[in-house]
Chain length 241, copies 2
DNA sequence: CTTGGTAAAACTGTCGACAGTCGGCAATCG
DNA sequence: CGATTGCCGACTGTCGACAGTTTTACCAAG
């Protein structure tokens, strides 16, 4: 519990309770105020947040669709716990999406896209030099989000956004130390160079390398992370048809 | 408005009201008993189905996450209307996922996988020979789902499942005529052959061809399908950050 | 000390109700 | 006659409550 990260905007207080609750839960999960596998009680949360159960329920459903929570019928919601295999899967899917995106992007690499990406890398480098780990991650994700955006497939972008929540979870949950600012900078500049070259092969190589580094960086920290596999028969829940 | 399809009552009283409502809505949308862009009233639906608004709301949120509905704050839920661009995007993402899947599958093509896929192709051929268009589509999707499954990445499979709902929408919404049984059969056998050969290039070529055919088959029927773009500023909703 | 069963407590799924808000319509004004 | 403004109805967002089920606590027997 404890206080939710940043206080909600001074904007308008009473609008979109669901989204406010969702943000609160997201932050609480990522900052590990809720432990992986922990059960969340609807009534407890609604009491703590001072709202009724309805918005809490909807927010929980939202987080479930984003892969941060898991619901078991009649049991409630549990914080998603990722094991090593699931972690690999997440990064493999990321690779899948970004490979496709950079390929599409290379085909239609406009000056606008180039400018936006370059600028975002600068922002990222600036963030990497600072101490705010969260901001560094966000700016990094934003760079990749821009790549997906300029690739020109909105559905692809949505798939990435869906995945990005789990990605955030993986990264913040496991990463203890941070990449060196230099590494981050050069790693992203390589992507820009590959795009400038216009060569699909170079792009693919660059993105493979880039994501490989990120994956290794996260995976190496997975000793005993959290185990979500207990009672399931390991096959049936995968193919319920 | 207009009353929904079949008489509402007669099928409730089991558990999982939410899922039942979701299934009902899904079928109604796919079978075009609700027209694209049409607004769905929560109270209307809850009256028709004989349940309260809570499960209707949750089901609608579920369908929203699956891309079948769109919610506008304070306005309610609307049936998703796909324009030509969104249609292209869906098939492009499908290509992205299946390319990756078949690549992974080729690396670990077990006898089990081979057997299961062959069997499913047979089931599909059988279905293609019949008259049930829905079953043909389902068996086709199931074949591809099996491919994704045996590729060994559950997260990838989930991404495909998410997409498959929209895929179903695209296919059933637009396709007037059906592919010839022969075409379906040979098209899938080519995939099996490519997998048997173990060549990544052959696999990629096969899946590109396969999905290209399916896409062309659907896209060619898109004259005036449904236009979802009206009041949005076309840029802001894509990059809200 | 362990084990098995029963009862209480807590929780989820579902329901009906209320208030604020949005869109449409009509009356009014220029 | 057209545009503007105020009103009305409908609907969503949110709330508190109830019933059935699951979990936990407790007690007794081995």
């Amino acid at each position: 519990m404890a206080s939710p990260t940043a206080a909600p905007r001074a904007f308008i207080q009473q609008q979109n309770l669901v989204e406010q609750v969702a943000d609160y839960l997201t932050q609480a999960i990522i900052q590990q105020h809720f432990l992986p596998g922990e059960r969340l009680s609807e009534v407890q949360l609604s009491r703590d947040l001072g709202v009724s159960r309805a918005p809490v329920r909807e927010a929980a459903r939202l987080l479930e669709s984003r892969g941060l929570l898991i619901s078991k019928p009649r049991r409630g919601f549990f914080v998603r716990a990722l094991n090593a295999v699931e972690l690999e899967d997440v990064f493999d899917l990321r690779l899948c999406l970004e490979r496709h995106a950079i390929e599409r992007l290379a085909e239609r690499y406009t000056a606008d896209a180039q400018r936006a990406l370059k600028q975002q890398v600068e922002v990222l480098c600036e963030a990497a030099a600072g101490n705010d780990g969260t901001r560094r991650i966000e700016e990094d994700l934003q760079f990749h989000r821009l790549m997906l955006h300029y690739a020109g497939n909105e559905r692809l972008l949505r798939a990435f956004d869906d995945l990005s929540h789990e990605l955030r979870l993986c990264i913040t949950l496991i990463t203890k130390t941070h990449e060196a600012p230099d590494t981050i900078a050069t790693s992203h500049f390589k992507l820009l160079d590959a795009l400038d070259s216009g060569s699909p092969d170079a792009c693919r190589e660059a993105i493979d390398y880039h994501i490989g580094v990120a994956r290794d960086f996260v995976v190496k920290g997975v000793g005993e992370t959290g185990d979500s596999s207990d009672e399931d028969s390991a096959d049936e829940d995968v193919l319920p048809r």
